[in-house]
Every structure is written in structure tokens, then in C-alpha cells.
């Protein structure tokens, strides 16, 4: 292009003495190139200009698109644009809620105070001023930390906002804050053994916090449990009152949905406040419901009867000889209060006959008994979402003596959770589900059959008889058709012999028996007799009335339909009540 501008002049005019340049017209006439070099040059320049303009145009269009175009139709596009500011949840550990969404464990944002001793100019003075603001710190400790060598040392974790303000106000260089969080349990003792607790680094060290630690740290969606905090509180209150009243050293209660084996409430006493990091006596840390293994006593007769009926070798109408103690090779089996006659299967349950139960088991045989116990999960640790669990204790050799003693509840030690899970399977129509605490667990869909439907129905009738006619009379709550079985087990004393004065009592029950919905287990450790109980310490005098109180209080909460016939006096009262205001 520029070549063209100059080349024009040169054609026809020459100054005198000027050198005649070799023009493109004359001197390269014989040059056979198709294009002259100047025009090639021009074309190249034009081409590159075009390319630049194109590139700039592309940038321009894109710029228009980004800056101007969105603003032209801003009003229309407001809904279509899904640009969202995404802020990360500052709380790292997920909450735990009960089945109704009530928060039962949560983390609070706090700040931790740390120091960089290298930056601290005057450790003595800094320590003095710090101790004034935080009186719980000791001057010597703080001074030692501040004059140390490292560049990072924690002074205090989990400051309150006012403490943080005061420390900031001191203006000591070298003191720094770090965001942290502290796990708190708003309901204090209520869920102590269930939830467990976390250590200073927010890592679960007990209970669900430990068992579900990964889930709680990976996602910030709350973890919902099957626990109902209202029911849990009611049971906790009644059980604490009972422990006080019967002067027991411990107690536990579990409420379970029999059809899914979801745990609705789980209480173990004595308990502790997980918000406090002080170490109370170790006994209150012990979870009786899932960690403790106990010989359940007569409660195991339920499973003995179920096993015998299921085997087909025993029928409900069969009778067994309980006229005199049963003599075996190593031991003699006696009844607590013997009837001393032949007893039918239902009478064996109602009078809780050890002799009868042992005879039933011996008739069925050890192999089948073992197989049944295996199916009921009595030989394995439970798959359950609490860190504190135990494996049952059972004899390796399964001889005649073992068959007989296991039939009435000795020689096999189980956790209460084992007992109630198996009990649920017996009464719910014969399907065993693994117990669970997680609301959206798929365990409830993975049940397997352990008993036939008919055996389960027969068992329900037998258990109802125990409550209407036998040792569970005091649990016959009007309207809720309670069925269950009591058990009083003598505790082993230090010398390895059973002590008949010191007992552990259990009552395992279900309601309403016509269509079971819930199973309740109440166990008390070393309840004492009183004048009120005629100095008896058997289950019928302590855990049974406690269970009755619990059931009559929680059944309306759980929306269990009361079912009973009205007598005339009550009819008259209801009429009166409905017409008077």
C-alpha cells in the first residue's frame, strides 16, 4: 500500500542529475513473475489488517454479550439466571436430630485462642493481663507457654464472644484467634449413652458420635435418628423415679418398634451430662443397654417356649412333670415357688417353672436349641449404631446341663438389646430385624423369618396370660393389652456362686398384644425390697409396676389406640362429663 503511494511520482519526472532508478515498468519488463513484489506486499498487509479487525470484532462481540446484552433483558432473565452465591457451611460436624427433627446434638461456632511466643515481646506482662481476663488460666502455665520456643501454642479453646472481645481489647501482639466449634447437647443427660460425646478435636469418642463419626464429618445434613425425644424423656423420668424408689444401683429401658426394630427410646441409668468434660465416676459412663451382658433369667423362657413350639415337638396343650426338682448330672433344677404337679406349656409360662422349661428344652434337644439361638442373634455382637457393644457370653460345650439352664435363663449372658430385638421377632409375627437407630436405615426392609406366624400368635397368647394371670399382673394397663414376661436373675457374687439376695430384675413386654406395635424392656439392677413390696425383690414388685407406669404414659404419646369395654359406671361418668361444662 505504502509502495503504491511513492511509486506514482517516480514515473515521468526526473530532476537534473538525478539517478534514473530502475522502475517497475521499464527495467523489469522481461521479468516473468505473474505479480510484481510490491502488490504482494500490499496484499499481505491488507490481509493481516483484516485478520486483526476480525479478531477485534470477535472480542468486541463477546464483550457486548458479556457486558451489555444481559443488562438489556435483565428483568426477563431474572428468574432464568441461577447464579447463586455459594457459602460453605462454617459448621463442619453435622447435627443429630430425633425422629421429629428436634436437634439433640449440635455444634456451636467458637474461637480458640493461641499464641505465637516468638512475637510476644513481654511474656510476664502478657501473662498477667491474660490471667485477669481469663481467671481459669493459671499464671505460671500461661507464662511457661508464652515464653516457650515454638511458634504455636493453644492457650484456651472455645472462648465466649465477650472473652474474645476483652482479649482483643488487650491488644497484645502474638495472640491470635482461630475459628473452632464445640459440640453441645441441649438435652444434657437425656441422650447421654445414646449420643456419646466428642473429644476436644471434635472427634466422636463414644456412642453414635463414634459409630457414625465419618457420616457426621463428611456431610453437613443432619443425621436423623429413630429416637423420639418426648417418649425418651417420659421413660427417663419414670425410670429415674423407680431407681430412686427401689434404691437400685442401675437400670435400663429400651422401647422398640416391633415391626421394624427401630429404637424409639433407650435409657441407661445412672447417666452423665456429656456437656461437662469432668470425669464422674466411671459407672455412669457404662451403657447397660448395649454394653452390659447379663443372664436374663426367666425372660429367656419366652425364647425357649417359642423354640419348642416352632420345632413341632411340643404343643401348647402338652404337659410336663414339675412335681419334683429335676436332677441332672451336675445340678438340680428347682422352681422358685413350685406348683409340684404336671404343668401345661401355658402354666409353665404363667408360673415361670424352671423344671418345666428345662424339660421342654431337653425334649427338643441341644442342636435345635443352638440353631434357634443362632437365628435369634444370641451368639453374635449386634450390628447396631452405637460404639459400645458386647458379644454375648455363652458356654463352648453345649451339654445336657447347658440345654436345661439356658432354657430358664442361666449360662447365657446377653445384652438387653439382644433380648428385646429377639423378643420383637417373637411377637411381630416371626420376622427378625436388626435393631437400628437411623431413621433412613434399610435394615427394616431386610428382615428374615425366624418363627412361623402361628407360633408367633401362640406366643402372644401365652405372654398375655402371664400378664393377666401370672407374675406380670401389675402391668395390666387398662386399654393397652400388655403382654410380657418377667425375669428375676440372681447375681453372681465375688466367690462365683449365685446370691439369691441380690438380683437383677427384667420385664419385657409388648402392647397392644392383638396387633403388637411396641416392645418395652425394663431392667433394674439390685432393686431393694421395702414394706410396700412386702420385702420382695422379684420382678413383679419393681420393674413390672414401673413398666405399667411407663406404658400408660407413653402409649397416648405414641398414638396407640386404647381398646376396652366400658362398664356401666364409666358410661354414666362419660355421659355426665359430656353434658356438664
Amino acid at each position: 500500500m505504502f509502495g503504491k503511494l511513492f511509486s506514482k511520482k517516480d514515473e515521468d519526472f526526473y530532476l537534473p542529475g538525478e539517478e534514473i532508478k530502475i522502475g517497475k515498468s521499464c527495467s523489469f519488463m522481461n521479468y516473468t513473475c505473474a505479480k510484481d513484489p510490491l502488490s504482494v506486499c500490499k496484499n499481505r498487509v491488507a490481509f493481516s489488517t483484516l485478520a486483526f479487525i476480525l479478531v477485534y470484532a470477535v472480542i468486541g462481540v463477546r464483550l457486548f454479550e458479556v457486558c451489555v446484552a444481559p443488562n438489556l433483558h435483565a428483568a426477563e432473565q431474572e428468574e432464568a439466571v441461577h447464579l447463586r452465591a455459594f457459602a460453605q457451611n462454617p459448621i463442619k460436624r453435622a447435627d443429630i436430630t430425633d425422629r421429629n427433627g428436634t436437634i439433640i446434638a449440635t455444634s456451636l461456632p467458637t474461637v480458640n485462642l493461641y499464641a505465637n511466643p516468638k512475637k510476644i515481646l513481654n511474656p510476664e506482662r502478657a501473662a498477667q493481663r491474660l490471667v485477669k481476663v481469663l481467671p481459669e488460666l493459671k499464671y505460671n502455665d500461661v507464662l511457661r507457654k508464652l515464653s516457650g520456643r515454638g511458634s504455636f501454642v493453644y492457650l484456651k479453646r472455645n472462648l465466649t464472644p465477650s472473652q474474645q472481645y476483652q482479649i482483643n481489647y488487650l491488644g497484645i501482639p502474638g495472640l491470635e484467634f482461630e475459628n473452632g466449634e464445640k459440640r453441645i447437647y441441649p438435652h444434657k443427660n437425656l441422650f447421654a449413652h445414646l449420643l456419646g460425646s466428642t473429644n476436644i478435636d471434635n472427634k466422636g469418642i463414644a456412642g453414635i458420635e463414634k459409630a457414625e463419626n465419618e457420616r457426621l464429618t463428611q456431610s453437613d445434613i443432619p443425621l436423623s435418628l429413630t429416637i423420639d425425644s418426648g417418649v425418651q424423656d417420659t421413660i427417663h423420668e419414670h425410670l429415674s423415679a423407680a431407681v430412686k424408689h427401689f434404691n437400685a444401683i442401675g437400670a435400663t429401658a429400651i422401647l422398640m418398634d416391633v415391626n421394624t426394630s427401630e429404637v424409639i427410646a433407650l435409657v441407661s441409668l445412672p447417666d452423665y451430662d456429656p456437656n461437662r468434660s469432668v470425669n464422674p465416676n466411671s459407672r455412669s459412663y457404662f451403657n447397660m443397654a448395649t454394653k452390659g451382658v447379663y443372664e436374663p433369667g426367666s425372660v429367656l423362657k419366652i425364647f425357649n417356649a417359642a423354640m419348642s413350639l416352632e420345632s413341632g415337638k411340643v404343643k401348647v396343650s402338652d404337659s410336663f412333670d414339675a412335681t419334683e426338682p429335676l436332677k441332672l448330672k451336675y445340678n438340680v433344677i428347682k422352681d422358685y415357688r413350685g406348683e409340684n404337679r404336671w404343668l401345661t406349656v401355658s402354666e409353665i409360662m404363667v408360673y415361670s417353672s424352671n423344671i418345666g422349661s428345662a424339660r421342654m428344652a431337653l425334649k427338643v434337644g441341644g442342636a435345635e436349641q443352638r440353631q434357634f439361638m443362632q437365628k435369634m442373634g444370641f451368639f453374635n455382637e449386634l450390628n447396631f449404631e452405637i460404639a459400645e457393644k458386647s458379644k454375648p457370653i455363652f458356654p463352648k460345650r453345649w451339654g445336657e446341663g447347658t440345654i436345661a439352664t439356658v432354657a430358664y435363663g442361666y449360662g447365657l449372658a446377653l445384652t438387653p438389646m439382644h433380648v428385646i430385638t429377639a423378643f420383637s421377632a417373637v411377637v411381630n409375627g416371626g420376622i427378625y430385624h436388626e435393631p437400628t437407630l437411623l431413621k433412613n436405615s434399610d435394615k427394616k426392609n431386610n428382615g428374615y423369618r425366624v418363627l412361623s406366624y402361628n407360633t408367633s400368635k401362640q406366643m402372644r397368647d401365652l405372654l398375655r396370660l402371664v400378664v393377666t394371670d401370672g407374675s406380670g399382673k401389675r402391668a395390666n394397663v387398662l386399654g393397652y393389652e400388655v403382654a410380657g414376661k418377667t425375669g428375676t436373675a440372681n447375681k453372681l457374687s465375688a466367690n462365683g456362686k449365685y446370691n439369691s439376695k441380690v438380683v437383677r430384675t427384667t420385664f419385657v413386654s409388648t402392647f397392644p398384644v392383638s396387633k403388637p406395635q411396641y416392645a418395652l424392656l425394663v431392667m433394674m439392677d439390685e432393686p431393694k425390697g421395702s414394706q410396700e413390696t412386702w420385702w420382695y425383690t422379684t420382678a413383679g414388685w419393681n420393674v413390672v409396676p414401673t413398666a405399667a407406669k411407663v406404658i400408660s404414659a407413653i402409649a397416648p404419646q405414641l398414638n396407640v389406640k386404647a381398646n376396652y369395654d366400658l362398664d356401666e359406671a364409666r358410661q354414666a361418668r362419660i355421659i355426665e362429663a359430656s353434658y356438664t361444662r
Binding site: I53, C67, A85, Q88, P186, G479, Q571, I574
Partner: protein
């Protein structure tokens, strides 16, 4: 040829200038938005924290033991008993004692008819 040439000269100067200005404006906007985003994110985090604390407090205040204490102090309601809950069909209404439902309905209808007759008479008398 000359006009295209001049036009291309002018374009090659003006377009970069315009684009340069445009990019400057955009960068300014982006910086402004980014500052806003940081503030919004911080506010959201603060709000999340506050909501979290409030939720914890709400749960603490809803402690069943505390509610029970308050209920005992302020309202005179007791826990419900089994016998206070009853099926509607189990309620002994008056008609169940003597008449069938059908008789009762019949009687009610004739009662209404009598009432209407009485009203008509009254209206006539008033006229």
C-alpha cells in the same frame, strides 16, 4: 480502494480503543461484583452461624424436662390417661339407649314440621 483503505485505518485505531475501554469497564464491574460476593458470602456465613446458634437455643429451650416444669407451673393440665381416650362409636349417646337412629331422625323431622306449622300460623295471625 482509497475509501476502504482509510476506513480500515480508522477501524484499526478505533476498535482497539473501544475494546480497551470496554474491557476496563468490565474489569471494574467484575472487581465490584467480587467485592460484593465476598461481603455476601461473609454475611451468609454469619447468618448460618446465627441460625445455628438460635436452633441450638431453641432446642435447649424445648428440653422436655424444662417444658414439663413450665407446664406444671403455668397450666393445669395433666398427662393424658388411657381411659380418657375413647372411640366415638363407644360413646353412649341418648338415642342408643332407647330408639334406633332411624326413629330419632323421624322424630326430629316431625318436630321440625310442627315448628314450621306453628310459625305459619303465627305469620297469618300477624297479617
Amino acid at each position: 480502494m482509497t475509501s476502504t483503505k482509510t476506513a480500515s485505518y480508522i477501524l484499526s485505531i478505533i476498535i482497539p480503543c473501544l475494546l480497551g475501554f470496554g474491557i476496563l469497564v468490565m474489569k471494574n464491574q467484575v472487581q465490584g461484583l467480587e467485592k460484593q460476593l465476598v461481603v455476601i458470602n461473609k454475611n451468609i456465613q454469619d447468618d448460618i452461624k446465627t441460625i445455628h446458634v438460635l436452633k441450638a437455643e431453641w432446642s435447649h429451650l424445648n428440653n422436655p424436662a424444662r417444658l414439663r416444669k413450665l407446664a406444671a407451673k403455668h397450666i393445669s393440665l395433666n398427662p393424658i390417661q388411657a381411659e380418657q381416650i375413647i372411640n366415638l362409636s363407644a360413646l353412649p349417646f341418648e338415642y342408643e339407649a332407647n330408639d334406633s337412629r332411624r326413629d330419632l331422625a323421624q322424630r326430629n323431622i316431625s318436630d321440625y314440621a310442627d315448628q314450621n306449622k306453628g310459625l305459619k300460623k303465627l305469620a297469618k295471625a300477624q297479617r
